[in-house]
Symmetry: C2
Subunit: 317 residues, 2 copies
């Protein structure tokens, strides 16, 4: 019998789940619509049934654990708490629901922390004990590993680098405060930077022809690749701000590497090269040259499921 | 035979050392002048001889380990590195020197990390797994404990909260950058704040009669206690800035408590009360009410030796 874990990427719209071997090989995958289940109990019943179905469709395997990556998940408590994009309100003890329906170990963590565990077990951080994964999407998530363990802190919510404040009195943030790293260093932060530069700079730019509501990080990166001056300036400023946020994180936990992941990271060397330069300018002298800035070692389309699988395998160690 | 460790507080001028039981009881103490030994080898020889002398002066004890708290110490490497206030230049492998002369385990760490271990073993953090000690002296040092272990990171230099930047483009810092937490949240930061307020405010103040070079945190706190408007405003601003630095640290490691220690912390509730208020205003909503702001649980005059003793006992566990 080959051992597998069920790895669940629980999202606001869809929940993708797979059976994953210890090597990271995904041997089967399926999905269901999260929004079809306004009651958490029904959702977990349907998901467990679907996992059992998927397991039975494969000969010679044995399910040994379940890992879940979900927004606003609390690893310590096995809960999803106050998730704005899910129908289940309040504090949802989702792990407890699973345990009533299936007799294998179940663990949950949030998306960015799952990405960090994925990087450690299957990706570019296999030999590292201290590193940070930044997910540069619409928001800016982070998973911090110290001494070989994900940092959860007293509350289970440690690792909110996206909401460390890097500009006092800066841009309004969705968290209700100002100047959070996320408002500058994410894909949406890049869009905000372009809007600001369109007001400040006089250079011509095709970005002036796109309605602000339709501006995306991808369009900006595409224009930068064609030498659009505003797109180039916006990427440079974004790199500087990401480096600034990284510099503070380096002063805190002195990681061996920072992995950049998610939509904005797809800009590639156009973003990575200036980030590396600005990081070395921004860190304290004793940290110069001590931290690598790397792309994720995990294929992006499988990242969420592999992160959840890594969580499950890591728990079974 | 009662087991003791030798606990060494290595300072630029004096080196204080004591024999300390597992309970934290200091049974003997002595000192020598650090500046008398421009050669590290002679310094370690003299110190080992003095420790052996002190041990022999007490009947029925057995030396089982040595702990050293020192500026710019690197725990991983057992070194003191580029310490500006010590005669020994470059990277000094001090633990290796000890091992050649005495056959017990020897460990070294920097002052603020020793303070954190002291808090964990002998002080107010005995039952805590996640907390931070901030030493608010001339500089701002920090010792961060996560999952019950001091955070050293990849380089051994993690935990430089005093040099996380809290005001972009802010005050010049001794580290060569601008806006570091230390330039606002330390005793010297409070003095700088008073100087700035003397320029901005028009209120009368006895602080206008003291030459800036003679202004101290203690004098400012004394004047605040007498309702001096500039001293009060300076303390309030300092509390706000300390809370701001703390809020970012909370987003990073979500500690159960922050212990404040050192000269500035002596201002007591005048400083602690507004810090508590500002911290709850400054943290992300999910962290509100999750972090205690506490005075150190270790008597200040023994803190450095007890920190070094705690390091040694912790290593022997």
């Amino acid at each position: 019998m080959k051992e597998v874990v069920a790895a669940i990427d629980l999202g606001g719209t869809n929940t993708v789940f797979g059976l994953v071997e210890k090597t990271g090989k995904i041997i089967a995958e399926d999905r269901l619509r999260t929004t079809d289940y306004p009651e958490i109990n029904n959702f977990v019943s349907a998901l467990v049934a679907a996992i059992n179905r998927l397991s039975k469709s494969k000969a010679g395997i044995k399910l040994v654990g379940i890992g879940i990556g979900a927004p606003n998940a609390n690893y310590h408590r096995g809960t999803i708490e106050l998730a704005p994009n899910l129908a289940w309100k309040g504090i949802v003890p989702i792990v407890e629901y699973f345990r009533k329906k299936i007799d294998v170990p179940v663990a949950i963590t949030n998306d960015a922390k799952a990405a960090a565990i994925g990087e450690m077990i299957f990706g570019g951080a296999k030999k590292m004990k201290n590193f940070i994964v930044l997910t540069l999407g619409t928001g800016l998530g982070s998973g911090i590993v110290v001494n070989g363990e994900v940092l959860y802190g007293h509350t289970g919510f440690a690792g909110e680098l996206g909401h460390t404040i890097i500009v006092s009195g800066g841009r309004d943030c969705g968290c209700g405060r100002q100047g959070c790293f996320e408002t500058y260093g994410s894909a949406s932060g890049l869009v905000r930077t372009v809007l600001n530069l369109l007001s400040e700079m006089k250079e011509e730019s095709t970005l002036r022809d796109i309605p602000p509501s339709q501006l995306t990080a991808k369009k900006i990166a595409d224009e930068a690749a064609k030498n659009d001056p505003i797109a180039l300036e916006a990427l440079d400023y974004t790199a500087e701000m990401i480096a600034f946020g990284i510099a503070n994180a380096v002063g805190f936990s002195s990681p061996e590497a920072i992995f950049l992941f998610g939509g904005l990271a797809k800009a590639g060397e156009m973003l990575f090269a200036p980030i590396r330069e600005y990081v070395n300018q921004s860190v304290m002298p004793i940290f110069k040259g001590t931290v690598k800035i790397l792309p994720s070692g995990i294929p992006e389309n499988n990242a969420a499921v592999l992160g959840a699988a890594a969580l499950a395998w890591n728990e079974l160690k």
